[in-house]
Subunit: 256 residues, 2 copies
């Protein structure tokens, strides 16, 4: 596996001596969702001294629960995160892997009072189970050039809905997460306003699928994204959806 | 708390000396979803001898994690599950509480091959965490007379999406679960075909909300259900959605 710049970026964001709650989920939707313009400021925050120091787990990195499909697709996109120029220099490729953590910004509760217990124990819904392979195993890659986003998703045994198949709510959760990530990448911080999901064919429990998102249009504060969930060679459509996202200010996010 | 017939029904379905995997999730959507007509047959199954004997946990019963709103609304609906007639007899009320377990029908994988490990460890997505109060705490009541269904839902700290608020995917999961339960109650076994969800106002983590579902129409195999997610006194609308469900045969369910 190439030691891509994507991974390096992940490490720089997450290395010790900073509040590990910062930079783990910058917007109201899904996994780590950083618009390109905000990456530098997060990297600056990362070098600030902080009393807490530990290495948070990046859930988007491969682990022993990943099956062959999951690993193969990860390698496919990850190898395009960094390219070598003719003179041997390394530079960003067209894809970037987004690191993913299980905490959101501490003390940033959108103006809502939460008990200290809830606040300290809160975990991102899609990363709330530590047992590898049991629930949502996924990694998101974004492509700036094509304004496209893909997610490789392996559905664990704790996501059952219909017997032997993935729960419709777990599929909706991944769609919200990935379309929200893509909208954030394109437009900065957003909130989901609408999800319209058509379930075409159930997804067997334990299988790996691909979520592919693209921009439909932007109109003022609105960003329209569409998403298809297919099997790994894209020959079978499981689910398709559209998402409408509204841009919000950092004030919304920080409790204003 | 009244010892309602709803609870008695739950115990009869779940008591020992029968395969506890039977009757825990009769259809492809959400929690225990029994159309009225099938309850008698399930109760018959419950008295059959079976080599496995243990008491499965009914997740819809109150536990120490439930806050005052959750308990109050549970009591409100549960007290209407059983009424006393003038001559002191007890009979069903207009509401019924649906018990809820965390396993689906064993060996019923919709014709899909699953490894023994995945099959034996599979758990219903909304009941996959045993820690009380950590994730989805909910109870569903159905009203035959009004063709209505309500769900009291307390969102635990592991369901975070936007900082301090419930993940849009967790809300979608509850909507899928409750609209699917209602469609099953009205039409027998169904699969979700479409969910269209409008997110109006974020739900603070740890709070209790009410999901109210009603039938829009039935057309052949199609059942259209709408759903509103509000605060507990219904004064604030958090989310509204429609669901389209397609009737399936027991053959689909049993792997045909």
């Amino acid at each position: 596996m190439a030691r891509g710049l994507c991974q390096i970026m992940g490490r720089e964001i997450s290395k010790g001596n900073f509040n590990t709650n910062i930079g783990q989920q910058m917007t109201p939707r899904g996994t780590l969702q950083l618009p390109w313009s905000s990456i530098n400021s997060v990297r600056t925050m990362a070098v600030l001294p902080w009393p807490f120091s530990f290495q948070p787990r990046d859930f988007s990195l491969p682990n022993s629960s990943w099956g062959s499909d999951m690993r193969r697709l990860y390698e496919h996109y990850n190898s395009q995160c960094e390219v070598e120029t003719d003179d041997g220099e390394k530079k960003w490729g067209v894809w970037r892997r987004l690191p993913s953590y299980n905490r959101s910004l501490k003390y940033t509760t959108g103006g809502v009072y939460l008990s200290k217990i809830i606040q300290s124990k809160a975990r991102l819904f899609t990363r709330n189970i530590r047992e590898q392979g049991a629930a949502f195993e996924y990694v998101v890659f974004v492509n700036k050039q094509e304004q496209k986003c893909v997610c490789v998703f392996q559905a664990g045994h704790l996501l059952e809905g219909p017997p032997g198949h993935v729960h419709g709510g777990a599929i909706a959760t991944m769609i919200d997460t990935v379309t929200g990530t893509h909208a954030t990448y394109l437009s900065g911080p957003v909130m989901t306003a609408n999800l319209n999901i058509n379930y075409r064919s159930p997804i067997p429990l334990g299988s790996t699928v691909l979520l592919t998102c693209s921009l439909d249009k932007k109109e003022g504060r609105k960003t329209f994204v569409s998403c298809q969930v297919t099997n790994t060679d894209s020959s079978k459509l499981h689910t398709e959806a559209t998402g409408l996202f509204l841009s919000i200010t950092m004030g919304h996010l920080l409790g204003g």
